[in-house]
């Protein structure tokens, strides 16, 4: 029931916020803020109310099921484990951040804006909760549409093209996923006689286990575009650059995560054999992404475009972690999702605040701001450091886990992923230099010394984000424990070291019947 609440809060909040426009724009903002905060609170309640996960896999801590279209085996089935709840908590928090970031930026059609924002959040929440593939696709499309309008209506100068590009890329991936879902549905029905979209039923289904790589690739297409994996990334910089700040925060912090979540929740468990076949390519795509994103961030002149490419780099680690085939790497990938949501969300927030103050995102026209904006510099430094993987902040732990997990599978991929940290350092220090330390631009722009520094709610949100990153960097164990159980089927080895392979196989053979791993062994081929 609480899961239904999680889903309804942003939906209802969006409608209420729109309705509140008849009162005043401020009422809209407060309504939206409360809705996002409530989402966070409910997620926290769900976290604490169901501490013990159910037996079996996935380790759901809460479920909600209602009939939707029983004739076709479609049910409205929501389910959450630690990973989902952590990501939904992130959703609520970034929702708050998005509303705060829009406080001064959005002045046109305020009600509609917050409606779209909250519905995008609702769609993301739905993806994180969906335990029915039809529902998954429904929510997947639902989060796409408001995002399109956020970019197309409230974006910057080139918004229409960017929004269209975003829509075409994600929709192309989404339609491939629809085909794959339908094929899986039919294949499962033909094999077993039970036509259902239910996730747990399809899990371990002979149809899915014996499915060809093409079926898995349908899912992979949607998730890899959303992630985005190189070379499917070109929509991201444009979308980020043109989106309003809140849109960027939601896009980077949450929508990209839905792609990563899809890999962890759907592709890997549903198609173990096909995933193993895809893995080598995915690993190299991830490694290429880490380097290429970092490399491309460096020459960008547009601050938001810059941050967008850093996202490409980070999501490369997630892709590596997802396909490394070890529990260490999967946990790292999941942790990276949380950390990246915080660090990049914060960087977009800062970019928006800078744009608000300096009136430009062009780094060529920014410079020497340290004297005028010391607090902004401090925050930027902190989040850039997180972004470049400084130990003590969350991203490092996540990236280390990913690299440690992949090392025994492919040392070369791990080495490339580590080498990307050099490129990250280059873009990180360059950002700080170019905007804050470097020479101020030629006169003619606004007097930099009179720019107002970060204060109030923005600073508060950033402070919470910093605290979160430090917590995840210094004592991530609570988060690690919560998400670890859900990241992969229980038969995934901790570290895929060759020496351990034999032992793990032995353990799997001993696994008691009844758990999915065991059941799968007996499944008819």
């Amino acid at each position: 029931m609480i899961l239904l609440a999680l889903l309804l809060v942003p939906f209802a909040g969006g409608v209420l916020a729109w309705a509140a426009e008849t009162v005043s724009p401020l009422a809209v903002r407060w309504t939206a803020l409360c809705a996002a905060a409530l989402e966070l609170v409910v997620a926290a309640v769900a976290w604490f109310a169901y501490p013990a996960p159910a037996a079996g896999w996935p380790p759901w801590v809460a479920q909600f099921q209602a009939e939707w279209v029983p004739q076709l085996g479609i049910s409205f089935h929501l389910a959450a484990d630690g990973l989902s709840l952590a990501l939904i908590a992130l959703t609520g928090f970034l929702g708050v951040a998005g509303v705060v970031a829009s406080w001064r930026e959005i002045t046109q059609r305020v009600g509609l804006f917050h409606f779209q924002l909250l519905w995008a959040l609702a769609g993301v929440t739905g993806v994180f909760l969906a335990a029915d593939l039809f529902l998954l696709y429904f929510m997947w499309e639902l989060m796409l549409v408001p995002m399109y309008f956020l970019i197309a209506l409230w974006g910057h100068e080139d918004r229409r093209r960017a929004a269209m590009k975003f829509f075409l890329f994600t929709q192309a991936g989404g339609l491939l996923m629809l085909i794959a879902i339908a094929s899986l549905y039919v294949a499962h029905g033909r094999r077993t006689g039970v036509y259902t979209f239910e996730y747990s039923a399809l899990l371990g289904s002979p149809a899915a286990l014996g499915a060809s790589v093409w079926l898995a690739l349908g899912f992979v297409a949607a998730f890899a575009v959303k992630l985005p994996a190189v070379p499917l990334h070109p929509w991201l910089p444009d979308a980020h650059t043109q989106a309003p700040t809140a849109g960027s925060i939601v896009l980077a912090g949450l929508l990209l995560k839905s792609g990563a979540y899809g890999f962890l929740r759907f592709v890997l468990p549903l198609f173990p054999a096909a995933s193993a076949e895809i893995a080598p390519y995915a690993l190299w795509a991830g490694a290429a992404g880490t380097v290429y994103g970092a490399f491309l961030a460096f020459p960008q002149r547009d601050l938001k475009r810059f941050v967008a490419y850093t996202s490409v780099s980070h999501m490369g680690y997630v892709l590596i972690g997802a396909f490394a085939g070890s529990r260490l790497a999967l946990t790292g990938a999941a942790l990276e999702m949380l950390c990246h949501g915080l660090s990049t969300g914060a960087l977009f927030m800062i970019a928006g605040a800078l744009m608000d103050r300096a009136g430009t995102r062009d780094m060529g026209r920014l410079g020497g701001l340290l004297a005028a904006l010391p607090r902004m510099n401090a925050w930027t430094t902190a989040f850039v450091l997180a972004s470049i993987g400084l130990p003590g902040l969350g991203n490092f732990v996540a990236e280390f886990l990913v690299l440690a997990g992949v090392f025994s599978v492919s040392p070369a991929v791990a080495a490339v992923g580590a080498a990307a940290m050099i490129a990250s350092m280059v873009y990180g220090v360059w950002l700080l230099y170019d905007v804050f330390q470097g020479p101020a631009p030629v006169a003619g722009d606004a007097d930099a010394s009179r720019l107002p520094d970060l204060r109030g709610p923005e600073a508060a949100v950033l402070a919470v984000m910093t605290a979160g990153l430090v917590w995840l960097g210094v004592y991530p164990q609570p988060a690690v424990s919560a998400i670890e159980a859900g990241v992969g089927p229980p038969d995934v080895p901790v570290a895929a070291a060759p020496a351990r392979a034999a032992r793990t196989a032995a353990e799997r053979a001993e696994a008691p019947a009844g758990v999915p791993g065991g059941a799968r062994e007996r499944a008819p081929r």
Binding site: V230, P231, H233, P234, P237, F295, L296, F298, P299, Q300, R301, R327, L328, T331, L370, A371, T381, L385, L390, P391, G392, F396, V397, F400, L401, L403, A404, F407, S408, P411, A414, A415, A418, A419, M421, I422, M425, V426, V429, W430, Y433, F436, Q437, G438, P439, V474, Y475, P476, Q477, V480, E484, V494, A495, A497
Partner: protein, 627 residues
């Protein structure tokens, strides 16, 4: 006392937290108390811990403390745990002691700076991180300290942000050291995945058990660790960042870029000595890198005119000595040199800082001169520091530590006479540039009146360090002088065993001593203001070429600029629009073209459309017919 070990790094970190959160609201006086006081308290605590440790050494020669589990995934875990053994004890004492002196000095040196509290916040963060680095029992925690000190170095080099050159120097330092850091990270990954543990000690013992001497995997791991050490300790080929790092305030150079952070590489190799012991090829590489670095840096120091750059190159050179010692398996000798070097090099920087402050931040030695009588205290302490750097025989600490290294470089079973010769040449060079600094700065005609003398808060650290630059060597007087190897005896307990000095040590020392004296004498002949010898030498074509090479640090900067920096930038600029994007744009154009091709069908004429319908009907009927 020992269970309080965790508080040693915690105190400076607490100071950082206070200053970082509330620094702007504190008075400069309070900032100074918090900033310097936290490190001084850490020193007091460290001294007490050291006393307890020495009085009753814990079982196994080390005290371990696990604070909390960082993370654990399926049985593999990283712990936030500390390990105090003689090696880390020496580093802890040096870091806290020199740190508190330098911070005391800074309270006066940085007075009036608008970012006074920011300076102390970062210095405290540095001290805390450095202590975490040397106390870490886990590779990952060590790496945390490792990166955090690099961060502080970056922040403090660029401290005076109004000059963009400082920002660029900071960038360079951070990026260049990151290259080494990544090597270290990959090394840690390799050790972790192969040995299944992140604990330094357990990894070392498992490595020795699992890998035979000379195993490829051990060599790769050792080489990667060496890569990290080379970056942090500014050794060939990553030495280029340290001379530029002098852009930071002088106390920063004294503490971070001379006494402590740059010796982290030495610490790391000493700590993982067991790994290098089973990778003889890499161990030899350590020595060779050290020898080459000490020569190149020594020559480069000869030609610099910036007083801090001379000191920086000398630091690189002295670190080269330490690497030679590590490479021949004499880790305790390396640590001993680190110990004395921390005192005399910090002293030299603090003295240089006093001079620079008196010259209003002018660092060019050729603008100085004749300060001997105007700044007597600075002169005497600085000269003592330089004498110790030059290893003036018998009376300075530097002599004893360097002598030990020179001796080990050929007497050790892994030593080689070529290493020894390189060391001897290096000590002549050291004598030359150390004397040159003193001569150019303090002798000759007075070129500029100093604008102020160091006050008590600057003088006390300088005098204290001057005393230590002399007496610190007496803890390790060689056997032929009737001394006992106290220091190496202590540190060696936590390190691989070393052979004791043999006959011939005295002769070797004598040769080195004579060379040092000769070097000082020739420096007087070459550099004493008013003598034309050097000018004539530089005027010859060969002399000019050499001078240019020395001044440019043998052109490493230019080479890296041409090979790495500029191609990277050019390629990046070229790729700003993303090479992948045009592929999608081409797909879009293809679709548009297809649309254009079909456009011809769209005539707008009703009868054409009707014709189309008619064709459709015909086709359908044809299908019906032919069924």
């Amino acid at each position: 006392m020992l269970p309080l070990t965790w508080a040693i790094p915690a105190l400076p970190l607490a100071g950082f937290a206070v200053l970082g959160l509330a620094g702007r609201r504190l008075t400069p006086r309070a900032v100074a108390w918090v900033g310097a006081g936290s490190v001084a308290a850490a020193f007091a605590l460290a001294a007490a811990v050291a006393a307890a440790f020495l009085a009753a050494p814990p079982a196994g020669g080390a005290f371990s403390q696990t604070l909390w589990t960082w993370w654990t995934v399926g049985g593999l875990a990283a712990h936030v745990s500390l390990r105090l053994d003689p090696l880390s004890l020496v580093f802890v004492l040096v870091v806290t002691f020199v740190g508190s002196l330098v911070l005391l000095y800074s309270t006066e040196y940085m007075e009036g700076d608008p970012d006074y509290s920011r300076f102390f916040a970062w210095m405290d963060l540095f001290a805390g991180s450095m202590l975490v680095l040397v106390l870490a029992a886990d590779f990952l925690l060590l790496y945390l300290g490792w990166e955090a000190v690099g961060l502080c170095s970056y922040l403090l080099i660029g401290f005076w942000y109004r000059d963009c050159a400082n920002g660029r120097a900071a960038m360079k330092a951070f990026v260049v050291t990151r290259v080494g850091d990544v090597a270290l990270l990959v090394g840690i990954l390799l050790l972790f995945t192969q040995l299944g543990t992140l604990g330094i000690q357990s990894a070392m013992s498992r490595a020795v058990d699992a890998w035979p001497t000379g195993a490829a995997v051990a060599s790769v791991a050792a080489a990667l660790v060496l890569g990290g050490a080379v970056g942090k300790s500014a050794q060939l080929p990553l030495q280029v960042w340290l001379p530029d790092a002098m852009a930071g305030p002088t106390p920063v150079s004294a503490l971070i870029h001379a006494a402590t952070m740059v010796t982290a590489g030495v610490y790391l190799i000493a700590r993982t000595g067991a790994l290098f012991a089973i990778a003889p090829g890499v161990r030899l590489a350590v020595a060779v890198i050290g020898a080459l670095t000490l020569l190149i840096a020594g020559f480069s120091a000869l030609a610099q005119s910036d007083i801090k750059k001379v000191a920086a190159y000398s630091t690189v050179s002295q670190l080269g000595y330490m690497f030679v010692a590590l490479g021949v398996g004499a880790a305790s000798a390396a640590v001993f040199h680190m110990f004395t070097h921390a005192f005399f090099k910090a002293l030299i920087f603090l003295g240089a800082g006093a001079v620079i402050k008196a010259m209003d931040e002018d660092r060019d030695m050729f603008h100085m001169g004749g300060l001997k009588d105007r700044m007597p205290l600075t002169f005497w302490t600085f000269t003592i520091g330089c004498a110790s750097l030059a290893a003036l025989p018998l009376v300075t600490a530097g002599f004893y530590s360097k002598d030990l290294i020179l001796f080990e470089s050929f007497a050790s079973p892994y030593g080689d006479v070529w290493l020894w010769l390189a060391g001897l040449v290096g000590s002549v060079l050291t004598a030359l540039y150390a004397s040159r600094m003193v001569l150019l700065t303090f002798f000759g005609p007075l070129k500029r009146e100093p604008s102020g003398l160091p006050g008590p808060r600057m003088a006390v650290p300088m005098v204290t360090l001057a005393v230590l630059a002399v007496v610190a060597g007496f803890v390790q007087v060689p056997g032929y002088l009737g001394g006992k190897p106290l220091f190496t005896g202590l540190v060696g307990a936590g390190l691989p065993a070393r052979s004791s000095p043999l006959v011939g040590a005295a002769l070797a020392s004598a040769i080195a001593g004579v060379l040092v004296l000769a070097g000082i004498a020739s420096a007087y002949w070459l550099y004493e203001p008013g003598r034309p010898a050097l000018d004539r030498l530089v005027a010859t074509p060969w002399g000019a070429a050499l001078h240019r090479a020395f001044l440019a640090g043998f052109g490493f900067d230019a080479a890296y600029e041409a090979v790495f920096v500029r191609p990277y930038r050019r390629l990046a600029e070229l790729d700003r629009g993303d090479f992948v994007d045009p592929a999608y744009r081409a797909a879009g154009r293809l679709a548009a073209w297809c649309g254009g091709a079909l456009d011809g069908l769209e005539t707008g004429r009703v009868r054409n459309y009707a014709f189309g319908i008619g064709i459709g009907v015909v086709v359908v009927l044809a299908v019906v017919m032919l069924r």
